[in-house]
Amino acid sequence: MRHVTALQLCAFLDDALVGSPDDQTARHLATCTPCRIRYELWCHVDDSVRELLGEVPDEHAMEQWSSWVEIAVTADRKGLPAPEFAALRLPLTTSPPPRPPMEPLPFPALPPMSPLPMTPPPAARESTARMARPTIPSAPPGPTLGAGSPPPRPPLPYAGDVRVRTSGPMPPALHGTPSGDIDGPLPFGLDVPAAALPPAYAQVPVATGAARAPFPTPPQLARAGAYARMPKPPSARFPKGWLVFVVLLLLGAGTALALPYVCERFGWPLPKWPILTAILNAEHDALARRAAVAGAESAASGPNDGSLPHEVTSRPAGGKHSTSKPRTGDAAQHAERGSEPPDASILFDLPAIEPEDAEPEQANDHPAEHARPHETSAHREASKAGSRLGRSGWSQLCGEVRNTQGVPIEGARVSIAEPDLIARTDRSGRFCIACPPGKRTVRILAAGRAPAIRTVELGRETLETRFTLDVAN
């Protein structure tokens, strides 16, 4: 008797035998005990496999799994990153336990205070004591490292600024997870860089991405740079000191230029400023050099004309100006010394005065002068000025300035060098200067006229002279 083979038994179990083979196998299994036992064992295995693998899934679970698939497929069709299966499965899993409240990190211990060098007063001691012991809330002690605890991490290099937000719970970043910025309440500070944090915070590794610069600019420096790039007001670009300096310089220059004319106009003494005097004398020297040549030519050609004095402005060699009036005392001296002959050169230069048509009325305005032509107000004022200045030994140089037609020139500038004396002619072209005796050089300057320069020898008498100014070339 042939037993049923394994292949026949497998096919019989799977209903793959049809016809006579199936009937023959069934009859054999009914009569053959070993084959029947084998058949029953295989049937047991098949039933166990069907029971084990033929599980009918829960319809709710199947719907949930299908929804996860649809979420992932929808995200993929929209070009979005497909969610991870673990994230999709979270709703079915038990919710994670709530995170325990974070304990604030212990405030770093303050360094011991060094003793004060001197004992402050009682009030100061009290305030110093408050400063030395700030009211810091007692922080819980830090975690104690047991035998199995990992060793403390070494301090990490500064990897970026740390933005500290004062709201929200403390993330695990402060507990060693390199997750970026620190978010959470800190016992101090608002926006502080990592370098400014105490060691407990500075050791937190932050900004592990390569995109961050190793040493980014802290917020404070960024704000400082922005402030430096801000447009500055004009006052900041141009210092006020320079502006004041320029204004003062302009005022000083204007005052220096206008001071001689103001002093001359109001009769004030001119201050003794060497620089100002040198500037003013430079013009005189230049004119004197030009007049020296013209004077030599005029001396060779003929005498100049002279007239009555009007006003004398004496300026000593030291630069101190003073307005003087013709001295009346000099007239008496002149009368007493009438025996002394006048300077021959001056007398020689005096031409015959031919009054013009307009001059008689002008002369009639001063009857006294007309009566005493050599004792005019200019003479008296010059004498008064000389006596007032204590220059009784000075003589007077008077004269008249006219043009080539004999018309008096008003306002002509008459100057003597050494001592520096200046006078202006009056309406009749007269001038009178009190001057120490000696050899003097007289310069006559008038607008539109060629300058005249002449050297005279002053004695103790009043010297009359006359100048004729030609039209300037």
Partner: protein
């Protein structure tokens, strides 16, 4: 063998129409197609993994990849055959490489994490014997014993020769019977 004339294993039904609509972008057709064979696919996933957690992940990944690769669905066979082969390929690959090595999941473990929920059997010897079998053999067992497919159908699903399928099933039965009887 049972009559599988109306079974999704043998009758394509509207599968190809749904596949064409899904290939044109019809998500409703796609989701209908994926839901049509989820019970059969789930049983295959459980047989391939012998673990409910892993079966969930395999079921999810199989359908997601199927949605991405609808262009490769064969037109002359039911979609379920293609889904079963895809699931078997994933299970073999994950088991061979001890799970997908992705940045978000640790290597050396199956997708879904460390926690597993292996299927419970009244006969631990049978469960151990099944766990020792390769995925392809467990697929033959589930197709022949659970789904009651004919040898020809199993051969079409697994793309193996029918005689080879019968021979392999006989060997598996003898092995399992020996383990249970031991």
């Amino acid at each position: 063998m049972h009559d599988h004339s109306q079974s999704p294993w043998t009758d394509p039904g509207r599968d190809h129409d749904l596949v064409i609509s899904a290939q044109r972008g019809d998500l409703v057709a796609l989701f209908t197609l994926l839901r049509a064979h989820r019970a059969e696919l789930w049983r295959v996933c459980v047989a391939l993994t012998l673990d409910h957690r892993r079966a969930e992940r395999l079921f999810h990944e199989t359908l997601v990849r199927a949605a991405k690769n609808l262009r490769t669905v064969p037109a002359d066979a039911p979609v379920l055959h293609w889904l079963v082969r895809l699931a078997t390929h994933l299970a073999v690959a994950w088991t061979r490489h001890e799970g997908p090595k992705t940045p978000t999941e640790p290597s050396g473990a199956w997708p879904g994490g460390a926690p597993t929920s292996p299927i419970r059997s009244a006969d631990p010897r049978l469960a151990a014997a099944l766990a020792s079998l390769p995925e392809q053999d467990r697929l033959l067992l589930v197709l022949a014993m659970v789904e009651r497919l004919s040898y020809a159908a199993v051969a079409r699903v697994t793309k193996r020769d029918a005689a080879e399928v019968v021979r392999r099933l006989t060997e598996l039965r003898e092995r399992l019977a020996g383990e249970v009887a031991a």
